[in-house]
């Protein structure tokens, strides 16, 4: 009796151990049944019965997965014999995701590591594209030799930066960048004055608010909002370099003569800007809740149409503008004004398309079919495929007029904004190299959103009126024409790669910390000067600015050298 029991116990014990051990086996069994070689999530290239290859890709940015069998994706696959399944970042940071891949040595065929790019390089996970690209002219000719030089690391090209490559010329109509924005109703109320300085900007809002404390339906108007949520706090902190007439280098001002980096946080302009905000806060022009809002609350306030103005980048509040229009409050949408600190400074809010050398898609060492992958990327840059990616299928997603000009019906336009529809039908391969500017037919814009006729179609009447008053046709023209970008521009493509284990990286994290805490305090302070002095003393104590600026100086010089072909 006893023996039987202990045998039973032993068998149970064994069974449990076996259960634990067997899990590995069962898993590979089930995988082989599925018909695909179990290459742990990447590497092998699957070929289906139609001879279409399926590649895999991971982009370390948040994104939207397209459905399997997506209409345009399949149309492209039929044309070029390949498709790509794309995964995006979810719930972790780019560096974490890339770190796990490196530790496990499992990569998809294509990868954009975002801020984890340098880790991929260290791990030797990317193949040098320039050793293969002679047979793939679309890739090779995507950038000029000088541009490729700036992408090179240790003499090789490992990634193709996807964005900011204008074909022919830029056709941007919407100023997607940062600006001081103001509602058309405010400008109209004062007969479309010329707004040049920060003082004029706030003066107008003040006068408008005094005359119009509420909207027509009685909702109180809000003068000015400052979004300050997490990384979106650029809406508060980076205006000083714009006010001084410098472009968006993100992390510093670069002196045009000495080519030295200048810390924009401590300039006299910065102090005047925050002092102005402080005054406006005390006058009640700035929403008292502004520094505790999260992004959702901010969008919801803007969406009511009550907010007269703010600093932001257009993509960041696009949703709110759609909501305003949907309520028929067309007069409450925003136009950008290029505000500077003193009259006479030339503003640089709009910049031409920029090559960001810190981001791009590469092919990994796990890829089993490198020529196939290169061909895929090459084919995606074919004019016909570009149109499929950017516009969709003819007669389904867009129509062609007699003159060859593409246009869309209202239904097509609303479909193109509907996430469910997009997932099932459209496939721009957003993180593969793509052109901006003109389409290769040289008639249309590359992308519906920058097609001039498309743009005017969707423009609300009050905005057209406002544009007429200022003698412009597009949002972009509301600010100065962008000049040639400086060879070092944009410096943020360098500072984005900083990590806290270097001294200059630590300095940057500390700067962000201190600014996050003190800038709101300075704006709401009763005694501005005391608050500013405290901020400055903490700032200087905790942040090693010299070390930070030195690192930037070195990079500026390096970029100038590359551009001049000296390295």
């Amino acid at each position: 009796m006893k023996k039987i029991k202990s045998i039973a116990a032993f068998t149970l014990a064994l069974a449990m151990m076996a259960g634990m051990g067997a899990c590995g086996k069962t898993d590979s069994d089930s995988d082989s049944k599925g018909g695909s070689a179990n290459n742990a999530g990447g590497g092998s290239v699957e070929v289906d019965e139609d001879g279409i290859k399926t590649f895999t890709a991971f982009f370390a940015v948040p994104g939207n997965e397209v459905d399997k069998g997506n209409r345009v994706q399949e149309a492209i696959a039929k044309e070029i014999g390949a498709r790509c399944e794309m995964k995006w970042l979810t719930g972790q940071t780019a560096d974490e995701a890339v770190g796990i891949m490196i530790a496990g040595e499992e990569y998809p065929d294509f990868i954009d590591g975002s801020t984890g790019y340098s880790k991929l390089l260290d791990a030797g996970a990317l193949i040098p594209l320039d050793e293969y690209w002679d047979d793939y002219p679309n890739i090779k000719n995507f950038y000029s030799e000088a541009e490729w030089n700036s992408v090179k690391v240790d003499g090789h090209v490992y990634i193709v930066p996807q964005f900011g490559n204008d074909y022919m010329y830029s056709t941007d109509c919407v100023h997607n960048d940062e600006a001081f924005w103001i509602q058309t109703r405010v400008l109209k109320w004062d007969n479309y004055p010329k707004i040049e300085t920060l003082d004029e900007y706030f003066d107008l809002i003040e006068r408008y608010l005094e005359a119009n404390p509420t909207m027509e339906d009685g909702t109180p108007n809000i003068g000015y909002e400052i979004l300050c949520d997490d990384w979106r706090y650029f809406c508060l902190e980076n205006a000083p370099f714009f006010l001084d007439g410098y472009p968006n280098d993100g992390c510093c001002i670069v002196d045009r003569d000495t080519h030295k980096a200048i810390d924009y946080n401590t300039t006299p302009t910065a102090k005047r800007y925050f002092q102005k905000l402080n005054e406006e806060y005390k006058k009640g022009i700035i929403d008292p809740e502004t520094f505790t809002m999260n992004y959702d609350t901010y969008i919801s306030k803007l969406s009511t149409g009550r907010v007269c103005g703010m600093v932001d980048q257009h993509w960041d509040f696009n949703d709110a503008e759609l909501a305003i229009k949907s309520q028929g409050l067309d007069d409450n949408t925003y136009v950008p004004v290029g505000v500077v600190i003193d009259k006479g400074i030339e503003e640089h809010y709009h910049s031409g398309s920029t090559l960001d050398v810190s981001n791009g898609v590469g092919i990994t060492t796990s890829c089993k079919d490198i020529p196939g992958a290169l061909k895929f990327m090459n084919d995606l840059l074919d004019p016909k495929i570009l149109t499929l990616r950017n516009w969709g299928e003819k007669d389904v997603d867009y129509l062609v007029g007699d003159d060859g000009i593409f246009y869309r019906t209202d239904e097509m336009r609303s479909n193109a904004n509907d996430q469910t529809y997009i997932n099932a039908n459209l496939c721009p391969y957003a993180y593969f190299p793509n052109y901006k500017g003109m389409d290769h037919d040289e008639i249309n814009a590359c992308n519906p959103s920058s097609q001039p006729s498309e743009f005017y179609e969707s423009l609300p009447e009050p905005v057209k009126e406002c544009f007429d008053a200022y003698g412009v046709q597009t949002y972009v023209q509301m600010t100065n024409k962008s000049g040639e970008n400086a060879p070092w521009y944009p410096m943020w493509s360098y500072s984005n790669t900083f990590t806290a284990d270097t001294d200059y990286g630590l300095a940057k994290v500390n700067m962000d910390e201190v600014k996050h805490e003190y800038l709101p305090k300075v704006v709401i302070a009763d005694d501005f000067d005391a608050a500013w002095d405290e901020y400055m003393s903490v700032y200087n104590e905790r942040c090693d600015i010299d070390c930070y600026l030195n690192a930037l100086d070195t990079e500026i010089q390096r970029r100038i050298d590359v551009a001049e072909g000296n390295s």
Binding site: A13, D95, E96, D122, D296, A500, D501, E517
Partner: protein, 329 residues
């Protein structure tokens, strides 16, 4: 029947005592079923929990995923020094503040969370209507299923200066004349987090106490009410002592978690104005390490938290043991 069992138990206890004197191996032989059964559990815990601890050497390295655990450069205690701001690294008052915040929020959560969950469980068990009890119980645990993003959205709505329910209520009652910007005041932050946690988890945490209440012998209540004891006195003299083992075990376990005061809610509700009081260790580590792929500093912080936790539970466990109460090990 019950007498028989009791007698048998006495006899058995005596036999056990006698057995204790026998050799160790004799005992092992006697318990071979138990020992055999426990072997898989030992293997399991070693594979899944202790083998990965090899990763702790990352804290003493400048870990690069490309080089792996074996080839990364060793830097001794540098990562810890960086974390605590010990020379030669820049002085770091911030981390001390972060520990303070974490401990404070952890303790508030521990105390309020435990008290409210127990109180709710008892009140619910005293509720007369069976159906009503079920409905309330089910509703109370719903918030547990909301993700923090959604919960944070709700908190923003409730605390809003303009339209927030709380401010409307306070203005309506004439307690304040103008809406308060709750999230801008550092002094309120810990309590906002505490109440959010209470709202989300009280119902959920009370489940375990409700289950424990069922194990209390109903005869005891019967006897008490015959003795003329009121409801409160029954709760005090029967329910609470009956819950004691469960309360103690959970307390000891949760004491070890005070440094895990959370990440999401503080991250989502925090802002520059309250930063000094809202940052927890996890947020700090994200900002200074993990988000930039510096696993070493994250591991260092993890080791620090583990050590503190283990010391705390050893202390708590010893205290419970000394008092002759239920303990962990």
């Amino acid at each position: 029947m019950s007498k028989n069992v009791a007698l048998a138990a006495d006899g058995n206890a005596a036999a056990l005592k006698a057995e204790n004197k026998k050799s160790f191996w004799k005992q092992v032989k006697n318990q071979k079923t138990l020992i055999l059964l426990s072997i898989p559990f030992v293997v399991y815990v070693i594979i899944f929990c202790y083998v990965p601890l090899v990763g702790w050497i990352m804290a003493f390295q400048n870990y690069k995923p490309a080089k792996g655990l074996l080839n990364s450069e060793f830097v001794g205690l540098d990562k810890f020094k960086r974390l605590f701001g010990v020379a030669p690294f820049p002085k770091n008052d911030v981390f001390l503040g972060v520990i303070r915040n974490t401990l404070a929020m952890g303790l508030i959560n521990l105390v309020l969370g435990t008290v409210c969950a127990i109180a709710f469980a008892i009140l619910l068990s005293e509720f007369r209507s069976r159906g009503g009890k079920k409905v309330i119980q089910t509703i109370s645990y719903l918030p547990h299923f909301l993700s923090w993003v959604i919960v944070a959205g709700i908190v923003f709505d409730v605390l809003s200066m303009e339209n927030g329910m709380l401010n409307k209520l306070l203005v309506g009652l004439g307690i304040v004349d103008k809406g308060v910007n709750w999230l801008a005041e550092p002094k309120y932050f810990w309590w906002i987090v505490a109440f959010t946690n209470l709202w989300k988890e009280t119902g959920w945490n009370s489940i375990i106490y409700l289950a424990a209440i069922t194990s209390i012998n109903p005869d005891l209540y019967e006897a008490a009410s015959i003795d003329g004891a009121g409801r409160l006195s029954r709760i005090w003299h029967i329910t609470l002592p009956g819950l004691k083992p469960t309360i103690l075990i959970l307390l000891i376990m949760n004491v070890g978690n005070v440094l895990n005061a959370g990440f999401d809610i503080q991250y989502l509700l925090g802002n520059g104005l309250v930063q000094r009081y809202s940052q927890t260790i996890d947020i700090y580590v994200l900002k200074y390490g993990i988000s930039q792929g510096d696993y070493s500093i994250g591991t260092a912080a993890g080791i620090f938290k583990s050590l503190v936790s283990i010391i705390l539970i050893f202390l708590a466990n010893r205290t419970a043991k000394a008092m002759g109460e239920e303990h962990l090990f």
